[in-house]
C-alpha cells in the first residue's frame, strides 16, 4: 500500500504544486479580490474546491464504479466533452490557468480509475494520492503565509459543503459576487471561466451520473467557499446537512437545482452500494456526501433516541445503562457526528494511561513546550490539554469535536470536568493533535470519566504505561476497551530502566501478544532524568517521527481515522442494542410490578366475593345483632298488616345498631382484604428486586384514608340497598294487599339473606322471598351485589393508585424507545 501510495504521489506532482496557487490565492482573495476580479474569484473557488472535491466525490464515484460497474461509469464520463478537455488541461496548462485546476483533479480522478480500474491496490493508490494532494495543499501554507490559516479549515468546509451553504452571509458584497460568478451569469463577465462553469453546469444538468457529485459540489462550493473565506467555517459546521442552497440567496437557484438533481443519483448509488463506506474504510476512501448526509441523519436520529432514554427504575444494571447511554450520547456529540460530517479534520490523538505514567511529560516533550503540568503529585493532570499546530488551533478551538467542553487557554480551576485547555505549538506537525488526559486509575474518579470521554472522541489512542505498571489491571481493562472499540492504538512503555529493558519488553510483548495486541505500534522510553517537565529529545524521536509520518501521510492518517470511526460505529451494534435491551427489561419489569399490584387487588376482590358468599360476614356482632333483632320480636313487628296504618314509628334503636353492625362487619372485611393486598404487593415487589423494595417503602399498609373511605362506601351502599328495596321491591300483589313492611328493616333482612350465602332455606332468605317475590329478589340481589363490588373496586383502585404513583415517580420508561433504538441502529447500518 505504501508503495502504491508513493507511486500515486509520484505520478502527479503537478497537482500538488497546482493546488498551491489555488489555495494561496484563495484566502487573501475573497474579501478584496472577488468583486474586483470576478474571473479570479470564480476561478479560484473552483480551483480550491475541486481539490477538496477531488478528495471527496470523485473518489467516491471512482470507488463506487469500482464496485458496481466501473467500466460503464467511466466510459460515460469519458464520453462527456469536458473530461477530455479537463484531462488535457492539467497536462498542458496546469500552471498557467488556476481555473483549470478545478478540473485537473476531476479529470485525473476520472481518468485514473480508468486504467487502474478494478484492481484494488490501485484504488488504494489512487485514494492516497488525492488525499495527498489535499494534505499537500495544506502543508505548504505555513510557508506561504498566515492568511492561509483557513486552508485546512476549508477542507472540512469543503467536505461539508452540502451543509454549509445555509449559513452563508449575503451581507458581504463580495460573497454575492462570488456566488453570482458561480452562476450562469458568469460567462458574460468572464468568458473563460464562464465556459468552464457552464461546462460544469452542463454536465450537471445533463445528469451525467458520475459527474453529479462534482457538479453539486462545485457550485455549492462557490458559495461555501465564499462563506468559509469570510466566516469561520466552524459556524457553518453547525448547520444541518440539508438544503444546500437554502440559506444564502446569493447562492440561489443554480446550486439548488443542481443540488436537487444531485441527491437522486448518488442516493441511488448509495442504495445500490449500501455497504460501500465500510469497505471503503479499508481503502481510506472518503464517504460520498450523500452517504455522509444519510449517516449524519441516522446518527442524529440515534442521538435523539439515546438522549431521550430514561432508566427510572434502579434495576441491577440501570446504573451501568445510564452511564453507557451518557457515554454514548457524549461520544455521538463529541466525536461521531462531527467526524462523520468532516472526516478530514486533523486527527485527534489521545494520550491516555495510568497516573504517573508520564502522559503529560510525554506530551510536553513532543510539543517542546510545557503545555501540561507535570509533577510528583498524583494525580497530576485534571483537565485535558489539547496541543496542536497553530494552523489547526482554530479548528479545535471552535470545532464540533468535543463540542460539549468549554475551551480554555490555560488550565484554570474552573475548567473542571467540562473544560479543555487548548494550546498550540509549531513543533507539532499539522493534521495531528495530541490530547493529554487525566489518568484512568487514580483515586480521583472524575478523572477516569474525563479520560474515557476523551478516549471516546479519539481518532487514535496512545496508551502510556510504565515498566512498573504494565501488569496493572486498569491498564489492561483499557486495552481491552480499545480492542473492543476497534480503535487505532499505539502503546508507549515508559520509565524503562536500561538494565531491565530486555526482560520487561519481552514480557510485555508476550502479554500483548497473548492479548491479541501484538501487532500494535510500540514505543519504549527509557527511564531518564526529566528536566523541566520534559524528556530528553532523544527519547521521543521515534514517536515524533511517527507523528510526522502521520501528519504528512494523509492517507494513513485518514485510514486510522476511518478505522477508529468504523470501530466506534461497529461498537454501536452491540452498545445500542444493549441499551435497548435494558430498556426493555425496564419496561418489562415495570409491567411485572404493575401486574403484581393488579393481581393482589384482584385477589382481594375475589376473596371478598368469597367471603360474601360463604357467610363469613354473618359472624360476631352481626350475628348477635341479628339474633337480637329476630329474638326480641322486632323482626315480627316490622311486618304489619295493611289494615293498620303505619304510624310514623321511630326506627327502633335495635335496627340502627344492627345496621351499624353490618356496616362495621363489611368495613372490616374490606379493610382486612385491602391490608392483605397491600402486604402482598410489597412482599412481591420486595421479592422481585431491590428496587421493588425501595419503591414499596412506606406502602406496606393500606392508606390512612382507607377505613374512612370504606365506611363511607358501605354506608352509601346500605342507603342504596334500602332505596332499591323501597322502589323496586314491589311486593307480590297478593302480599302487598295483606302485609306492609318497613323498608329499613327489610333491607337489613335482605342484606343478611344476601350475605348468608348458600343457605337458601334460611329464615331471612325465605322471608324476603315471600315478601318480595323471587324475581324481584333476584333483581335486587344482583343489583345490590354489583353495586357493592363496584364500590369496593373503586376503593381498591384508589389504593392501587398509590403503587402506580410510586412506580411512576421512578420515571415511566418509554415503551417505544427500545424500538426506536433498534430502528436507529438499523438505519445507521443501512446508511453505512
Amino acid at each position: 500500500m505504501n508503495t502504491a501510495m508513493d507511486d500515486g504521489r509520484g505520478e502527479r506532482p503537478g497537482e500538488q504544486t497546482l493546488s498551491l496557487p489555488a489555495i494561496t490565492d484563495a484566502p487573501p482573495g475573497p474579501p478584496a479580490d472577488l468583486p474586483a476580479e470576478p474571473e479570479r474569484a470564480a476561478g479560484r473557488p473552483p480551483g480550491a474546491k475541486p481539490e477538496r472535491e477531488a478528495t471527496g466525490p470523485p473518489e467516491s464515484s471512482a470507488a463506487r464504479p469500482g464496485r458496481d460497474s466501473p467500466a460503464g461509469r467511466r466510459a460515460g464520463e469519458r464520453s462527456e466533452p469536458e473530461s477530455p478537455a479537463g484531462r488535457r488541461e492539467p497536462g498542458v496548462a496546469e500552471r498557467s490557468e488556476p481555473e483549470f485546476d478545478a478540473f485537473a483533479p476531476f479529470a485525473s480522478g476520472d481518468s485514473k480509475p480508468g486504467p487502474e480500474a478494478p484492481a484494488e491496490p490501485q484504488f488504494d493508490a489512487f485514494g492516497p494520492v488525492v488525499r495527498g494532494s489535499g494534505a499537500a495543499a495544506a502543508e505548504p501554507e505555513p510557508a506561504t503565509g498566515e492568511e492561509t490559516d483557513q486552508a485546512p479549515e476549508e477542507t472540512p468546509a469543503a467536505k461539508r459543503e452540502p451543509v454549509a451553504v445555509e449559513d452563508s452571509e449575503p451581507g458581504a458584497p463580495a460573497e454575492s459576487d462570488a456566488s453570482e460568478a458561480a452562476e450562469p451569469g458568469l460567462p458574460a463577465e468572464a468568458p473563460g471561466d464562464g465556459a468552464e462553469q457552464e461546462a460544469v453546469a452542463d454536465e450537471d444538468e445533463a445528469d451525467s451520473v458520475p459527474e453529479e457529485p462534482e457538479a453539486k459540489s462545485v457550485p455549492e462550493d462557490l458559495g461555501d467557499e465564499a462563506d468559509s473565506v469570510r466566516e469561520s467555517p466552524e459556524t457553518e459546521a453547525e448547520s444541518v446537512p440539508e438544503e444546500p442552497g437554502d440559506g444564502a440567496e446569493s447562492v440561489a437557484e443554480e446550486p439548488e437545482t443542481e443540488a436537487d438533481s444531485v441527491p437522486d443519483k448518488p442516493e441511488d448509488e448509495a442504495d445500490s452500494v449500501p455497504e460501500g463506506p465500510e469497505a471503503e474504510g479499508v481503502r481510506e476512501e472518503e464517504l460520498p456526501p450523500e452517504t455522509v448526509k444519510a449517516m449524519a441523519a441516522a446518527l442524529g436520529a440515534l442521538r435523539e433516541s439515546v438522549a431521550s432514554l430514561r432508566f427510572g427504575l434502579d434495576l441491577p444494571g440501570a446504573g451501568e445503562a445510564r452511564k453507557a447511554s451518557g457515554e454514548l450520547l457524549a461520544q455521538l456529540e463529541d466525536y461521531v457526528l462531527p467526524r462523520v460530517r468532516m472526516n478530514t479534520a486533523p486527527a485527534l490523538i489521545v494520550v491516555a494511561g495510568s497516573t504517573g505514567a508520564g502522559k503529560s511529560t510525554l506530551v510536553n516533550s513532543l510539543a517542546e513546550k510545557n503545555v501540561s503540568r507535570t509533577g510528583v503529585r498524583r494525580p497530576t493532570t485534571g483537565v485535558p490539554v489539547l496541543v496542536c499546530h497553530p494552523d489547526d488551533r482554530q479548528w479545535f478551538a471552535e470545532g464540533e469535536l468535543l463540542g460539549g467542553l468549554r475551551r480554555f487557554d490555560q488550565a484554570r480551576p474552573e475548567a473542571g470536568q467540562r473544560g479543555i485547555v487548548i494550546s498550540a505549538t509549531e513543533k507539532l506537525p499539522q493534521g495531528v493533535a495530541l490530547l493529554d488526559t487525566p489518568d484512568i486509575d487514580s483515586v480521583v474518579e472524575e478523572h477516569h470519566e474525563i479520560a474515557h470521554r476523551m478516549l471516546d472522541a479519539a481518532d487514535l489512542w496512545i496508551f502510556v504505561t510504565t515498566a512498573a505498571r504494565y501488569a496493572d489491571a486498569p491498564a489492561w481493562n483499557l486495552l481491552r476497551l480499545a480492542k473492543e472499540r476497534g480503535a487505532r492504538l499505539a502503546i508507549v512503555l515508559s520509565r524503562v530502566q536500561d538494565r531491565a529493558r530486555e526482560v520487561v519488553l519481552k514480557h510485555f510483548v508476550r502479554m500483548l501478544t497473548e492479548y491479541g495486541l501484538g501487532e500494535i505500534d510500540r514505543f519504549v522510553i527509557s527511564e531518564s532524568k526529566v528536566a523541566d517537565g520534559r524528556l530528553p529529545d532523544s527519547e521521543v524521536t521515534e514517536l515524533r517521527l511517527w507523528l510526522a509520518e502521520l501528519s504528512v501521510d494523509g492517507a494513513r492518517r485518514a485510514q486510522a481515522v476511518r478505522e477508529t470511526l468504523n470501530g466506534v460505529l461497529d461498537s454501536f451494534r452491540t452498545r445500542v442494542p444493549a441499551l435497548a435491551k435494558h430498556l426493555e427489561a425496564q419496561v418489562a419489569f415495570r409491567g411485572e410490578l404493575r401486574g403484581d399490584v393488579e393481581a393482589a387487588y384482584l385477589g382481594a376482590l375475589t376473596d371478598l366475593d368469597k367471603a360474601f358468599r360463604s357467610g363469613a360476614l354473618i359472624h360476631g356482632e352481626v350475628l348477635a345483632r341479628w339474633q337480637d333483632f329476630a329474638g326480641s320480636g322486632d323482626l315480627m313487628r316490622s311486618l304489619q298488616l295493611r289494615k293498620r296504618a303505619r304510624s310514623g314509628r321511630q326506627t327502633p334503636e335495635r335496627i340502627i345498631a344492627f345496621r351499624a353492625a353490618l356496616r362495621a362487619g363489611l368495613e372490616s372485611v374490606i379493610v382486612a382484604a385491602a391490608t392483605r393486598a397491600a402486604e402482598e404487593v410489597t412482599a412481591r415487589w420486595r421479592h422481585r428486586a431491590e428496587v421493588g423494595a425501595a419503591l414499596a417503602d412506606g406502602l406496606e399498609r393500606p392508606s390512612d384514608d382507607l377505613v374512612r373511605h370504606a365506611g363511607r362506601a358501605v354506608a352509601a351502599w346500605q342507603e342504596h340497598v334500602t332505596e332499591l328495596v323501597r322502589t323496586e321491591g314491589v311486593a307480590k300483589r297478593t302480599v302487598s294487599k295483606l302485609v306492609s313492611f318497613d323498608a329499613d328493616s327489610l333491607s337489613l333482612i335482605f342484606m343478611v339473606a344476601m350475605f348468608s350465602g348458600g343457605q337458601v332455606e334460611g329464615v331471612p332468605h325465605r322471608l324476603v322471598k315471600a315478601l318480595l317475590g323471587a324475581e324481584s329478589l333476584r333483581g335486587i340481589g344482583a343489583k345490590a351485589l354489583s353495586d357493592l363490588r363496584a364500590r369496593i373496586s373503586m376503593l381498591f383502585d384508589e389504593e392501587s393508585m398509590r403503587y402506580v404513583q410510586a412506580l411512576d415517580s421512578a420515571g415511566i420508561p418509554d415503551e417505544s424507545a427500545a424500538t426506536r433504538l433498534y430502528q436507529a441502529t438499523y438505519n445507521l447500518e443501512v446508511a453505512r
Binding site: 495510568s354 497516573t355 504517573g356 509533577g375 510528583v376 503529585r377 498524583r378 486509575d441 487514580s442 483515586v443 480521583v444 474518579e445 510504565t466 512498573a468 505498571r469 501488569a471 496493572d472 489491571a473 486498569p474 530502566q497 531491565a500 526482560v503 520487561v504 514480557h507 367471603a611 363469613a616 360476614l617 359472624h619 360476631g620 356482632e621 352481626v622 350475628l623 348477635a624 345483632r625 339474633q627 337480637d628 329476630a630 329474638g631 326480641s632 315480627m636 311486618l639 298488616l641 335495635r654 345498631a657 353492625a661 362495621a664 362487619g665 372490616s668 372485611v669 379493610v671 382486612a672 382484604a673 391490608t675 406496606e700 302480599v735 295483606l738 302485609v739 329464615v763 325465605r766 315471600a770
Partner: protein
C-alpha cells in the same frame, strides 16, 4: 500468656456482645454484615488463641512498588525474589524472628512451608526488638493476575499490622485507596504507610509528595497516618520502618488493636444499619393499655356487647310469656298474624330458633385487631423488626377466630332456660286470674239472680256485699297488672345482671385467648428486639 497480652476486658465483652448480636441477628440483620460479623468472631477467636508473642506484619501494595525489595531489606537477606517483570511475587513469603510458637500461627495464615524463613533474631545484635515479628511479603492486589487471586486480600484481612508499600508512581491509585485505604479509618494504630522508592525523587519532591500523601489519607478518613519514606535500594528509611515495626512488635498489642479496630469498624456499620437510638425505649413487654385495647377489639369481633344486649332483650321478651299479665297476651292472639297470612307459619318457629344463642368471631375483625396491635407497637421500629413483629403477631392468627368461637360458645347464654320463679309467678298470675274470674262470677250471680242461690252461697246474694265484691274483683285485676309490671322489672333487673356477668365472663375468656395466641408471641419478639439492641449497645460502649 502474660498479663500484657490478655485482651482488655473491653474487647472480650464487646466480642461477646457481638456474638449475642450474631445469635439474634439472623433474619433481622443484613446478611452481609452478619457474615462479616461471624467471620470477625471466628478470626478473633482464632487469633486470640494463637501465639500472642508474635505480631504478624504484612507488606502490601501494588505491583512494582517494591514490597519484596523492602521485605529483603528489612530481613537483611534475599529471601523473596525481586524482579522487573510485573507481577513478580505470586506467593506470600514469611520471615519469622523468634520461631518458637510461630508454627501454628503460620499454619493459620496458610503460608506454605517452603516460603517460611526464620531469623534467630535473639542472636542478631540490635535486632532483639524485632523478636516476635512475622513479616509477610504479599503478592500485589492490583495486577491482572490479582483479578483471579485473593491471596493478598485474605492476608490483609488477617495480619495484625499492615505496612502499605506505596511508590511515587502509584501512591494515589484507586485500586489501593478505594478498596483498602478508605476502609482503614480507625486502624491508624495498626497501619503504616511506607513511601518506597524515595531514591527516585529529589528531597523537595519527596517532601511535597509526603505532604500530598498525608492530605490524601486524611481526606479518606485516616486521621493520623504514619508515613515512612523508604528506599529499598539505598536502604534509606528502612531503619525507621524497622523501628516503627519493632515498636509495634515489642508492645505485643497489635493483634488486639487490630481486632478492636475491626470491631469498631463493624460496629459502626451495624449501628448505621440499625441505629440503637430509641429502640431501647420500646418496652420488652406489651403494656396493659395495649392489651386492653386488643381485648376490646377482639370482644368487638365476637360481638360481646351485642351478644349481651341480645341476651337481655330476648330474655325480657321471653319472660313476657311467663310472668306478664296474661290478658294483654291473650288479646295479642286475636291480632291477625302477618306471618300466617304469608303462609310462613313454620318460619316463626325458626325465628325463635335464631335466638338460640351461638357466638362466633368475625375473622376479618380479629385480623384487623391484631394488625392494629402490631402497628401500634412497631411504629418506631426499624422496618426489619417491624415486619418481624407483624409476623410474630400473626403467627397464630389463623386459629384465633375458631378458638374464640369454641371457647365462647361454652358460655353462650341459654335462652330457653326458664327460671323457677317465672313458673311461680305464672302460677300466681293464673291464681289471680282465677280469683278475678270468681269475683266476676260472684258479681254476676249476685246481680242477676240474687235470690235464686243455694243457701250455701247466700252470702253471694247479699247485696250489701256486692260492692265489696266488685271492689275486690277490680283489685285483683289491678294486683295482676301490678304484679306483671313488678315481675317484669325483676326480670329486667335479673337480665341486666346476667348480662353483666356474661360479658365479664366472655371478656375474661377473650383476654385469655388473646394472651395466649397473640400477646405471647409478640412479647417473645419484643424481648428479642430488646435483647438485640441491648447487645448492640454493649457492642458500642
Amino acid at each position: 500468656m502474660t498479663t500484657v497480652t490478655t485482651p482488655r476486658p473491653g474487647l472480650s465483652s464487646r466480642l461477646s456482645a457481638l456474638s449475642k448480636v450474631v445469635e439474634l441477628g439472623p433474619g433481622r440483620l443484613d446478611p452481609k454484615l452478619m457474615s462479616e460479623a461471624e467471620s470477625l468472631l471466628l478470626r478473633a477467636g482464632d487469633r486470640l488463641k494463637l501465639s500472642s508473642e508474635h505480631t504478624v506484619v504484612a507488606l502490601a501494595g501494588g505491583t512494582g512498588s517494591g514490597k519484596s525489595s523492602l521485605f529483603n531489606a528489612v530481613s537483611g537477606l534475599e529471601l523473596s525474589p525481586t524482579g522487573v517483570r510485573r507481577p513478580t511475587t505470586a506467593r506470600t513469603h514469611a520471615c519469622v524472628w523468634g520461631l518458637e510458637g510461630a508454627a501454628p500461627l503460620l499454619d493459620w495464615l496458610q503460608i506454605q512451608w517452603r516460603h517460611r524463613f526464620a531469623r534467630a533474631s535473639a542472636l542478631d545484635k540490635g535486632e532483639s526488638q524485632l523478636h516476635g515479628l512475622i513479616l509477610l511479603d504479599l503478592p500485589d492486589h492490583d495486577s491482572i493476575r490479582a483479578l483471579n487471586d485473593n491471596e493478598a486480600d485474605r492476608l490483609i484481612g488477617l495480619a495484625d499490622l499492615v505496612v502499605w508499600v506505596l511508590d511515587p508512581q502509584k501512591y494515589a491509585d484507586a485500586s489501593t485507596h478505594r478498596r483498602y485505604v478508605t476502609e482503614l479509618a480507625g486502624h491508624e494504630a495498626v497501619t503504616v504507610f511506607a513511601l518506597n522508592q524515595a531514591d527516585r525523587l529529589s528531597t523537595e519532591e519527596l517532601a511535597e509528595l509526603v505532604i500530598d500523601l498525608n492530605d490524601l489519607l486524611r481526606r479518606e478518613g485516616v486521621e493520623h497516618p504514619t508515613v515512612v519514606p523508604t528506599s529499598a535500594v539505598t536502604g534509606r528509611g528502612v531503619e525507621s520502618l524497622k523501628s516503627v515495626v519493632a515498636a509495634a512488635v515489642s508492645r505485643r498489642r497489635a493483634a488486639i488493636q487490630r481486632l478492636e479496630a475491626d470491631l469498631r469498624k463493624l460496629e459502626q456499620r451495624m449501628t448505621a444499619a440499625m441505629p440503637v437510638g430509641e429502640a431501647l425505649a420500646i418496652p420488652a413487654a406489651v403494656d396493659e393499655a395495649r392489651k386492653m385495647g386488643l381485648v376490646d377489639a377482639l370482644c368487638d369481633a365476637v360481638g360481646v356487647p351485642a351478644v349481651g344486649e341480645a341476651m337481655e332483650n330476648i330474655y325480657v321478651e321471653r319472660s313476657n310469656r311467663w310472668v306478664g299479665w296474661p290478658f294483654p297476651r291473650w288479646a295479642d292472639r286475636f291480632r291477625p298474624d302477618p306471618i300466617k297470612s304469608l303462609r310462613l307459619e313454620d318460619v316463626s318457629d325458626e325465628i325463635k330458633g335464631i335466638a338460640a344463642g351461638t357466638v362466633t368471631a368475625q375473622a376479618a375483625e380479629v385480623t384487623n385487631a391484631v394488625q392494629a396491635l402490631a402497628e401500634g407497637l412497631s411504629g418506631t421500629m426499624h422496618p426489619v423488626w417491624r415486619s418481624s413483629l407483624h409476623h410474630a403477631a400473626r403467627s397464630r392468627l389463623g386459629k384465633v377466630p375458631s378458638a374464640l368461637t369454641e371457647d365462647l360458645t361454652q358460655v353462650a347464654p341459654q335462652l330457653d332456660r326458664v327460671p323457677a320463679w317465672w313458673r311461680l309467678l305464672k302460677a300466681w298470675q293464673y291464681a289471680l286470674v282465677a280469683a278475678f274470674g270468681c269475683g266476676v262470677l260472684w258479681l254476676l250471680l249476685g246481680l242477676l239472680i240474687p235470690g235464686a242461690l243455694p243457701p250455701a252461697l247466700e252470702l253471694m246474694g247479699d247485696t250489701a256485699a256486692l260492692p265489696w265484691a266488685a271492689l275486690m274483683t277490680v283489685s285483683v285485676l289491678g294486683l295482676g297488672a301490678l304484679s306483671g309490671i313488678a315481675s317484669r322489672n325483676f326480670v329486667e333487673l335479673g337480665a341486666s345482671r346476667e348480662r353483666e356477668r356474661l360479658e365479664r365472663e366472655m371478656r375474661r375468656r377473650v383476654a385469655a385467648i388473646a394472651e395466649k395466641m397473640v400477646v405471647e408471641p409478640v412479647e417473645r419478639e419484643l424481648a428479642r428486639h430488646h435483647a438485640f439492641y441491648t447487645a448492640m449497645r454493649g457492642l458500642s460502649s
